[in-house]
Symmetry: C2
Subunit: 418 residues, 2 copies
């Protein structure tokens, strides 16, 4: 059997007899001729034959001769074909995959995700996701971080009891980890610099366009820092790595979705939380930024600094988790940051407490945190880290209004399948 040629490579074989394989993306029957457009992982190729009754989405193998054709995609098409089905005749999807856009409601798309994701534009977002993660890892590897894999089943509902999923663990109560926070901090004591790409779980009781019950968190943590600015410098490199990787590894997806990638400035502009409140005209005693504030700040960063990224630093201690390091110079404020990107909070991070006595002082009952605190009892350097939501990143890159559009199989308040 002659070896398979990918659709995108067909124009390089004009005059030759080749074999392609893929899904029947589109069947167009004219009076005396039928066109089959075949879709594979590389793109589309047109087949010309007298007639065909193979339904769209059926998987076929085609042997035929390549000829130049100005009207065909890529400037070539396959004639004199022998079409062999590899699957049964496919049932028609509830939407046309061959149209430029998926014309269906979001619930219909999500209910039919295995087939909706085949649409070239739906699929393209996940090519960008994969390229982003590859760039993230490469950037951190370059800075001598070690990749880790930590437990997703934990004994203690750690960061906030209200939004955690309970598990029956061999007859005991356990929880799904909301983040690898405690593990990555402990492992700074082992590797100094660690990262993890993995699922995190939040029993979010709200139905929003930017929260899910499971998402992919890009976590990092590093030791021997002076303060949160060292963490921000690492994050800046990680994001530059992500953008660079998308630029080189996801060229087709970028073109198909007509995406404009952001510039990552050498120094991402930074504004202190108190100044941020003032900029958006919020009362000085607001403890956090509302979504509208984040949008306004992003606009300000663009007009003032020409940057799509903005660090907001120094969030009030009372709105950050117990392990947050205070700002020694500004009582009530912390050595923490959020990174805003195109109007939303993309990353949360900061310096953490590293002295055992500091943890004992902030934890009312240290007993549930015994395993975690062990690391600090036995010596930990000043350290900090961050967490970036992967699906949210891609949503902003491709301008998807709902995070479900950049999640393969989203999980939320009502959705548990497919």
């Amino acid at each position: 059997m002659i070896s398979r040629v990918l659709a995108a490579d067909v124009p390089a074989h004009i005059g030759a007899r080749i074999r392609v394989a893929g899904w029947v993306h589109r069947r167009r029957e004219l009076k005396s001729v039928t066109f089959l457009v075949i879709r594979d992982r590389s793109g589309l190729v047109q087949i010309v034959l007298p007639e065909s009754d193979v339904p769209e989405e059926t998987v076929v193998e085609v042997e035929g001769v390549v000829i130049a054709s100005v009207q065909a995609p890529g400037g070539a098409e396959i004639t004199e074909p022998v079409v062999t089905p590899l699957s049964e005749p496919a049932q028609a999807p509830p939407f046309d995959l061959y149209r430029p856009n998926l014309n269906a409601t979001l619930p219909t798309i999500l209910d039919n995700a295995p087939v909706a994701l085949r649409h070239p534009k739906a699929r393209a977002a996940f090519t960008i996701t994969a390229a982003s993660v590859a760039g993230y890892r490469a950037a951190l590897d370059e800075m001598s971080f070690t990749e880790i894999h930590t437990p997703k089943i934990v004994e203690t509902a750690t960061e906030s009891g209200a939004t955690v999923f309970g598990i029956d663990y061999f007859g005991r109560r356990a929880y799904l980890a909301q983040s690898p926070q405690f593990f990555k901090q402990s492992l700074v004591g082992v590797f100094e610099r660690v990262y993890e790409v993995g699922p995190v779980f939040r029993a979010e009781p709200h139905d929003t366009t930017r929260h899910l019950a499971q998402y992919t968190s890009l976590d990092a943590e590093l030791g021997f820092i002076t303060d949160h600015h060292d963490v921000m410098a690492v994050l800046r490199k990680a994001i530059a790595g992500m953008v660079g990787s998308v630029k080189t590894r996801a060229v087709k997806a970028l073109n198909l979705l007509e995406i404009r990638l952001p510039e990552v400035p050498e120094i991402i502009p930074e504004v202190h939380f108190t100044d941020a409140l003032e900029l958006v005209g919020a009362p000085a005693d607001e403890p956090d930024l509302a979504p509208a504030h984040e949008r306004a700040l992003s606009e300000w960063a663009m007009s003032e600094h020409g940057s799509e990224f903005l660090f907001v630093t120094g969030y009030p201690m009372r709105k950050r988790p117990f392990y947050t390091h205070p700002d020694p110079a500004r009582p009530g404020h912390s050595n923490s940051f959020d990174l805003l990107f195109r109007g939303v909070e993309l990353v949360t991070g900061g310096q953490r407490l590293h002295r055992y006595s500091d943890y004992l002082a902030v934890l009312q009952d240290p007993e549930p945190y015994r395993g975690y605190l062990d690391a600090f009892k036995h010596g930990m350097p000043p350290h900090g880290g961050f967490a970036l939501g992967l699906e949210r990143w891609t949503a902003r890159l491709v301008d998807a209004p709902n995070i479900r559009q950049t999640t393969l199989f989203p999980r939320d308040l009502t959705r548990l399948s497919p």
Copy 2:
């Protein structure tokens, strides 16, 4: 402040005043002089000073002058030091981290994982793990696979109801995914070739040295195959990539643990299940291989083929999951394989059913599988894949008798913390 030099780079700075930072690995007090050995992510460096009471594991920063010293590790040491603690004086760990080996029982080591993992030999295993995963991804990226991230919370206890963890999902019953099997198959319909590195969950009721409640699964799935041999060829490349990456990225760990890496033959030897039974002298009607059989087969592969890897193919259909593709030529047998490595099953894989009607024929009640079956209803190519247990891989590489030694924070029947 002068910038930090890593311990391993100190010998390159003889005569200079430098700054190092790390943990006090070892303090040796002689009559008139004290040696502090400092450990950082790169290695060890010796400090000489008149006296010091800094306890071991305390984190310190040291400024001093580098001199050549034949007795010191790396041939250099730091004199005239100014030692500044970065943590509180550390409490003593329940074992000495400076000894060549961790002299403690496995339960003590696991109970104190955050500090036990700091031992250079404990840590080294996880450097090898990280290098392995990087090699796995690079090999699959090279073969144009797309990385995916799939749900760990699922509606249906899919592969075997007995070993699944239940979750309370917003008042509904849900389960932790035992594998990304259904998702990766569905996504062959989208990307043709996919892989995932992520946690999988098994409520294993047995306490063994090679099973855990959570482990890291390296999954892959690819379409347009002829049969399981195409999958085995991809797996062979993935494993060669892993070994190659360990060889280049984990040199220090390999030397420290005195590891002999396996050769990955161009063609990994293969034996059919029925012949395997005969080779180990088991009755011809045995439905599966016992651990002792796997050990015997590995020995046979070494003596007969000089290979530490062996494919066993054609397992009986009745012992494989419902989505397994039968061998058209041998009734009762399947187009499946296991890969044995150094006496244990490391990988399970095979060709899957790809016709909708085949699934309807094997599933007694297709309703719980509706979302999964959608992919097949709308056309799927012949495909197959595999899953490799990451912790088991490293355990065999470093010759760890218990998989808990190559898992950062293991989860089992009794262990849920740290």
